[in-house]
């Protein structure tokens, strides 16, 4: 139970505030798939679900999560689904028709400007608002995240339409005080209502027309909405903004001792054109400040030909906006001096060497990459989304491409067919369940030649150890059936399937060699629990694990460089194992039984 979420007010992350907003709206059903920066919305639901009587699940992917939430709505229960931006790419296939069908629920999507935890593309979900025709809210802090979630539930009910709440990384992971409203007890069990959600296929155009009519009404509400507000100021230059940029502008106003007229858009789709026109009436110039793409800017350009617009020519489309970006550019545009010596820092600061993230000590993935290197040498290596992406760095350099969830398998199929070469595919357990099943079936069905290594560490580890179908636990920590990857692969018709224990190194190497030698599709399930999860358990249970030390210095130990364990290092010409870092995986001792021993 999260104490901060209850009482009169709480010090909350944006992600937690979303959950509080849902509690104040009578939510009965929540679903998600873990993905930074949205993960903690699900984590928070998971922590409070049992005590509040809400149903929560980690679904196998975002599309299923969204569909499941819609199913709850079809049964008369208020629902919320959350995901990171890429998740909406997967889920959008179902969200478009659900808008036509008028399914009222709340979809929370977190973008990641700056790609702090995202490798695929810097994506601006506000385009989806336009593609999907879904009313969109953009909170600027935790209080707004809570309040807008509540508003989203009300609004979705009023207009019978999904409502999107768009977050960004800094909203998700900033904490501030949130004043709470009353918790509303919602229905937890409902009944499927037959007539309300008819099949759309025969009447798609008719439903489209109906939606457009609905959007007109929604736009009227949006024009009047208090979520879009003007703050009075001096002068003929105004600012239009949304999201996190708003609070950075306030910060810059303070520093520059200025106060320009400001229009803040919290309800940004459908676009409140009249409100914006009205705001521009007395202005000569307008500065549009928004993170990522120039969406507001393009809207404003449509109807303000005479006004000078400053936008993406000052505030970059790529990367996140920082408070100083806004401060410096406002100072440039307005010719206003910054009252402190910022330029010294800008002139003299150079970022020192970047820290390359690495596999934790004892990480099962290290054993896997090292074993593959030993067993197979250089091959085509397909990577996927998860901690094992770190295999792209030294000393392994064993991912030739990483594209999107499950794409390791899909792309390898094309390579196998087009080149006749045999790719080696790395895919994690959760990613396999998320998007690997159809593409594995495609490998088999369309007769590819490839080795698939499922790195089965039992958890969705990178996002903080959420359970997945392989963990045997649901999102509400109830025991459930464990999906057996080996049996799944066999059922799909894979030619060779074997489960390997990553902690038995020499056998693991043999298994890999055998699997690769077989023509057709082979699957190795590389089993080894995430060491972080394992160590936490061991500490909790008070289990003492053996530490290792170098028994004898030897030239052969140079090979440890290729193993890349952060606990093993060479100091003043001598190899040593850092006891504080060693997490007892024993692989180094298996590699050099004569040179490394258990510390007594």
């Amino acid at each position: 139970m999260k104490k901060e979420l209850f009482g009169k007010r709480g010090f909350l992350f944006g992600n937690e505030a979303i959950v509080r907003g849902a509690l104040e709206s009578g939510v009965g059903y929540a679903s998600s798939y873990p993905g930074t920066p949205a993960t903690e919305i699900g984590d928070t639901f998971a922590a409070i679900a049992k005590d509040t009587g809400i149903y929560f699940e980690w679904s196998v992917n975002e599309k299923v999560a969204l569909e499941a939430a819609a199913g709850a709505v079809f049964s008369g229960i208020k629902a919320l689904v959350s995901m990171k931006h890429y998740g909406l790419n997967v889920a959008s296939d179902s969200l478009l028709p659900l808008v036509y069908l008028g399914c009222p629920f709340v979809v929370v999507v977190a973008d990641d400007p700056g790609s702090w935890s995202s490798v695929q593309a810097e994506q601006d979900t506000r385009w989806f608002s336009r593609l999907i025709h879904v009313p969109t809210l953009e909170p600027s802090n935790s209080q707004e995240a809570k309040d807008m979630t509540k508003f989203a539930f009300q609004f979705s009910q009023k207009h019978k339409i999904p409502v999107l709440v768009r977050l960004t990384t800094r909203i998700c992971y900033s904490k501030s005080l949130v004043n709470f409203g009353k918790i509303k007890k919602g229905k937890k069990k409902g009944k499927f209502v037959k007539k309300e959600f008819k099949l759309g296929s025969a009447q798609t155009v008719a439903l489209h027309k109906k939606l457009l009519e609905k959007l007109k009404k929604i736009r009227k509400d949006c024009e009047k909405s208090k979520l879009n507000f003007i703050e009075e100021g001096r002068g003929k230059i105004g600012i239009i903004t949304s999201g996190v940029a708003y609070i950075y502008i306030k910060e810059a106003f303070q520093e520059l001792k200025i106060k320009l007229p400001l229009l803040k858009l919290g309800f940004s789709y459908p676009f409140p054109s009249d409100k914006v026109k009205n705001f521009l009436k007395n202005l000569k110039k307008v500065i549009v400040i928004e993170e990522l793409d120039p969406i507001i800017e393009e809207e404003v350009k449509k109807f303000s030909k005479k006004i000078k617009i400053y936008g993406k020519d000052f505030f970059s489309e790529a990367g996140e906006l920082k408070p100083e970006d806004i401060l410096v550019n406002l100072s440039k545009i307005l010719g206003k001096k910054i009252d402190r010596n910022l330029s010294y820092n800008i002139k003299n600061y150079k970022e020192p060497e970047k820290r390359i993230p690495f596999f934790c000590p004892g990480c099962p993935h290290r054993s896997t990459f090292y074993a593959v290197k030993k067993a197979l040498g250089k091959k085509i290596f397909a990577g996927d989304i998860g901690c094992y992406m770190l295999g792209v760095y030294e000393p392994f350099r064993m991912q030739d491409f990483v594209v999107s969830m499950g794409a390791s398998v899909g792309i390898s199929h094309g390579i196998s067919k087009a080149s006749g070469q045999k790719p080696v595919i790395f895919i994690g357990d959760s990613t396999f369940f998320h998007a690997g099943l159809p593409s594995l079936l495609n490998l088999v069905y369309n007769k590819a030649n490839a080795l698939v290594i499922v790195l089965d560490n039992r958890w969705t580890a990178m996002t903080g150890h959420q359970p997945n179908p392989g963990s045997g636990l649901t999102g509400m920590k109830k025991e459930t059936k464990i999906a057996n990857i080996e049996e799944i692969a066999k059922a799909l018709g894979v030619d060779f399937v074997k489960t390997s224990n990553v902690w038995n190194f020499s056998q693991f190497v043999k298994d890999l060699k055998q699997a690769y030698s077989i023509k057709g599709v082979s699957v190795i399930v590389a089993k080894g629990e995430c060491r972080l999860a394992f160590i936490r358990q061991a500490v909790r249970k008070g289990i003492k694990l053996p530490k290792f030390k170098i028994k004898k210095q030897d030239k052969k130990l140079e090979q440890l460089k290729d193993f890349g364990c952060p606990a093993i290092k060479k100091e003043k010409g001598k190899w040593l194992i850092d006891k504080d870092l060693c997490w007892s995986c024993s692989i180094c001792k298996q590699l050099f039984p004569d040179l490394i021993e258990v510390e007594k």
Binding site: F11, T36, P37, T39, E40, W116, S117, N141, T169, R170, Y173, S174, K175, S176, L177, I247, Y248, K250, E251, Q254, E255, K322, P323, E324, L327, R340, N341, L342, Y344, N345, I346, N348, Y349, E351, P352, E353, K354, R355, P357, F358, F359, C360, C387, L390, M462, T463, G464, L532, P566, D580
Partner: protein, 186 residues
């Protein structure tokens, strides 16, 4: 009060998020408005991490603007250098002398930091904590206590300890109490 701007840096796994949370909670106990910014995700695996805490009045952004920090608490020295992005000539930089996976040495790092501020404190927190407890788990708490002792952090000791008690698991409390008290003796 004019906002106090603190940045806690280090690499993933050093207990930075815990330390930040404790400081925020202590500031809340003291009646301040508080804003905090952090990041989650891959940083856990040894990446650089910077967490921002601001308390006092008139704060909008949770991120501290460039060159506007009052205090940097660095659990590792290379990260202290990286944090100079937020340092001006009045900023105090408190550094744990540890260097983790870097080609730079302490002398070089300090020389670089001195270009931004002369107000630097260096303490061998890893060494001290290891001597006291046999491991380095409590380095974050040591640095916190040390900052209080040197009056670098305008928070009351009792509020900070209350926040520690709320945040740290019971079975680790005794060890952390020991480290916290020791930090006032250095």
């Amino acid at each position: 009060m004019k906002p106090f701007n603190l940045i806690v840096v280090g690499y993933g796994g050093q207990g930075i998020l815990t330390l930040t949370d404790i400081i925020s909670k202590a500031a809340l106990k003291q009646g301040y408005d508080v804003k905090e910014a952090e990041l989650h995700g891959l940083a856990q695996r040894g990446g650089s991490l910077d967490c921002h805490v601001r308390f006092g009045g008139g704060i909008h952004s949770s991120l501290i603007p460039r060159a506007k920090a009052d205090l940097i608490i660095a659990l590792e020295a290379l990260e202290a250098l990286r944090a100079c992005y937020w340092v001006n000539k009045n900023t105090v930089v408190l550094i744990n002398s540890k260097i983790f996976r870097s080609s730079l040495n302490m002398k070089k790092i300090l020389r670089e930091i001195k270009k931004f501020t002369r107000k630097i404190y260096v303490v061998d927190a890893d060494e001290i904590v290891k001597k006291e407890t046999g491991n380095i788990l409590g380095v974050n708490i040591f640095m916190l206590g040390y900052a209080l002792k040197k009056k670098l952090l305008p928070l009351k000791k009792e509020n900070v300890w209350k926040a520690v008690e709320e945040r740290i698991r019971k079975r680790f409390l005794q060890e952390n109490r020991k480290i916290f008290e020791k930090s006032f003796k250095y």
